[in-house]
């Protein structure tokens, strides 16, 4: 029945999604296997509280025809104000807030440059790719992140829809970033996008997802799976900026397999959401492979940002760097949870982890849970973490220069996150700074 999407999850729903999309048999079987695993698997017993996620109150697939409109007046003040600060056009505000339901959960990709296409770059939604390049998809789908990886990857594997598929042919260097925007357009509409990126030998690309504008939805679940293949000598950068509205559970599994001399860079900015659990990982499987992770998280009121990274060194001469910055205020909890593992055969590997946390008031928490396993005596692992408040001297100095206390605080926080911001494309960097300044308002004094 168009107009109202069905809630709840059952084997039948999974079958229906598959038949609506006209999928090949292997995908249908894969979904069903995943669903069976999902029902058996328990919710993780560590990390933030997920007991409030009601899997039966989420609608798992919204047909493109289903529309759900909301009055502009229903949109919370805070979200409107953020649009104002970021200077987003009215038309865009409308669908970000869900007033206009013109986008479904499939990816709206628009800015693929012609030149990239001419060079043979494939940039499609996952559903289209499954139809056009079935063998390429089948070869890579679910191979890095099997459905049995965790409960949420199983859920995604069962009900995925949307997401992007990117293939960069051998030797192609994509100059401009490939951008994809994901938007929730209906309340209680779970977003289960599935992204697969293959960077073939000697290629380079920069993929960007998300946007700094808040995505508004009520009690939603976002469980995405992202698989990235970085082949020999290739380099891929994956930038995510997400600003979910304050009621979204953002539970994402991201993993990259990096072959000989390949480089994988994750840049990850987490703002918003009620709970974020996200640990992008790099499996360094070829000699000389390198993994990098830059992570920024901001936890405000009622937010729990549980972010981190995993670096698994499985081959000699591999290296990795993790830089994580977190800011918590107004009772927010920000945690770093990470893993660095060096296997016994990974000779001469190096890993450096740095995590810094800033706590802005006495109600807020910061945790650091790193795990390091060094199984090889020729490899180095370094880890450093520090937690501090903004020092009174710094505030005093800036105030003596004529800044108000909150301006001073904003400036110090901007400086703190600068190492991450400078790796973002310019427009994102500007927006992110504005956003942080806005969040900082009224936080002191």
């Amino acid at each position: 029945m168009p107009g109202e999407a069905r809630r709840g999850l059952s084997r039948q729903v999974v079958e229906e999604i598959s038949s609506l999309k006209n999928e090949p048999k292997w995908m249908r079987d894969y979904r069903l296997k995943s669903f069976a695993y999902f029902t058996e698997k328990e919710i993780p017993d560590w990390g933030p509280d997920l007991s409030k996620v009601d899997f039966n109150d989420i609608c798992y697939y919204l047909k493109p025809l289903d529309k759900e409109k909301r009055d502009w007046n229903e949109v919370p003040e805070k979200i409107k104000k953020t649009f104002e600060v970021l200077g987003i056009p009215q038309a865009e505000r409308d669908y970000l807030a869900g007033v206009k339901a013109q986008y479904d959960s499939e990816v709206a990709y628009s800015s693929l440059q012609k030149e990239a296409e001419e060079e043979g770059v494939i940039f499609l939604s996952m559903d289209q790719a499954l139809k056009k390049y079935p063998s390429l998809v089948q070869e890579h789908f679910g191979k890095l992140i099997p459905f049995s990886d965790n409960k949420f990857s199983a859920l995604n594997s069962a009900v995925w829809s949307g997401g992007s598929f990117v293939y960069i042919p051998k030797g192609v260097k994509v100059k401009r970033p490939l951008q994809a925007y994901f938007r929730l357009n209906a309340r209680n509409m779970g977003q289960f996008e599935r992204t697969l990126i293959i960077a073939d030998e000697n290629s380079f690309a920069h993929y960007i997802e998300g946007c700094t504008a808040p995505v508004y939805s009520a009690d939603s679940l976002h469980a995405a799976v992202v698989e990235v293949y970085v082949k020999k000598n290739a380099r891929l950068r994956y930038t995510t900026i997400q600003n979910w509205s304050g009621d979204v559970y953002n539970l994402v599994t991201k993993r990259a397999g990096v072959e000989k001399n390949g480089v994988m860079e994750w840049v990850d900015g987490n703002l918003g959401s009620r709970v974020t659990m996200k640990y992008p990982s790099c499996y360094l499987i070829g000699n000389g492979a390198r993994g990098e992770m830059l992570s920024l998280s901001y936890a405000g009121e009622n937010q729990n940002q549980d972010a981190g990274a995993k670096m698994v060194h499985l081959a000699p001469n591999t290296s990795s760097i993790i830089v994580s910055k977190s800011v918590s205020q107004k009772g927010g909890v920000s945690s770093y949870r990470g893993l660095v593992e060096v296997s016994p055969i990974a000779n001469n590997s190096k890993s450096h982890v740095e995590c810094d946390a800033l706590i802005l008031d006495s109600k807020s928490f910061s945790n650091t849970y790193p795990v390091m396993r060094n199984n090889n005596n020729t490899s180095y692992i370094e880890h450093e973490a520090s937690v501090s408040k903004v020092s009174d001297e710094k505030i005093f100095y800036l105030m003596s220069r004529g800044l108000s206390k909150s301006e001073a605080m904003g400036l110090i926080v901007s400086g703190f996150i600068e190492p991450i911001i400078k790796d973002l494309p310019m427009e994102y960097a500007v927006e992110l700074n504005n956003l942080i300044n806005m969040e900082m308002e009224g936080s002191v004094g």
């Binding site: 973490a385 937690v387 408040k389």
Partner: protein, 208 residues
């Protein structure tokens, strides 16, 4: 500062200091004593204001022993500080699994905490697992942890050998150098000398 030595052989122990204390962890891994111990857990709780703690742990892990140790420091009141410094030398086919947790309660304002855990992995099959955890529930703190594990620097080894020392002598010097700052932190001369003496073991038995 009061000095208290802790002989690591009991599985679980809790320490509540009443005055500024330097704890020195002692373990003798030259015999196989630790093979039968699965997990060692030491908790230090600061429940008195204006208290400073130092926990100093030199650890030599050898004879294919796998040691699991956890050290937790809990700051429950304002104006306290702690400094944990663990340095371990891990010999072939031995391993250390270290959990260091610093917890700072919401009431515990003006806290300084630091935890450092460095390991030297010597020879094949030396393994080091480390989980330095910080849980901070308050913003008036300075908390830090650092963990590093790695090999003897090959360039330093080469330099010493070029000066006419053999490989095992050079390694001894570098191991001593690695532990030097930790040993110098020990306020008690008797314990310090005893440790230095213990470190000389390798001159008789070349390790690699």
């Amino acid at each position: 500062m009061k000095i208290e030595t802790i002989n690591i052989n009991n599985n679980i122990n809790t320490y509540k200091a009443t005055e500024d204390t330097q704890y020195i962890l002692q373990m003798d891994t030259s015999n196989n004593k630790y093979k039968s111990i699965n997990e060692i857990s030491l908790d230090f709780i600061l429940e008195k204001e204006d208290l400073n703690l130092q926990i100093i742990g030199p650890m030599i892990i050898r004879e294919e022993q796998n040691i699991k140790i956890s050290i937790q420091v809990k700051h429950m009141v304002p104006n306290t500080s702690c400094e944990v410094l663990i340095k371990s030398v891990i010999f072939p086919n031995s391993s250390l699994d270290f959990l260091g947790r610093i917890y700072i309660d919401n009431d515990s304002r003006n806290t300084t905490a630091s935890l450092k855990d460095n390991s030297l992995l010597i020879g094949e099959g030396a393994r080091k697992f480390s989980r330095p955890v910080l849980e901070i529930h308050n913003n008036d703190v300075k908390a830090f942890h650092g963990s590093a594990s790695g090999n003897i620097d090959p360039l330093s080894l080469y330099y010493l050998q070029s000066r006419g020392l053999n490989k095992s002598q050079s390694e001894n010097i570098l191991i001593e150098g690695f532990l030097d700052d930790l040993i110098n932190r020990i306020n008690d001369r008797g314990i310090r000398d005893k440790l230095i003496k213990e470190l000389k073991f390798k001159e008789k038995e070349p390790i690699i």
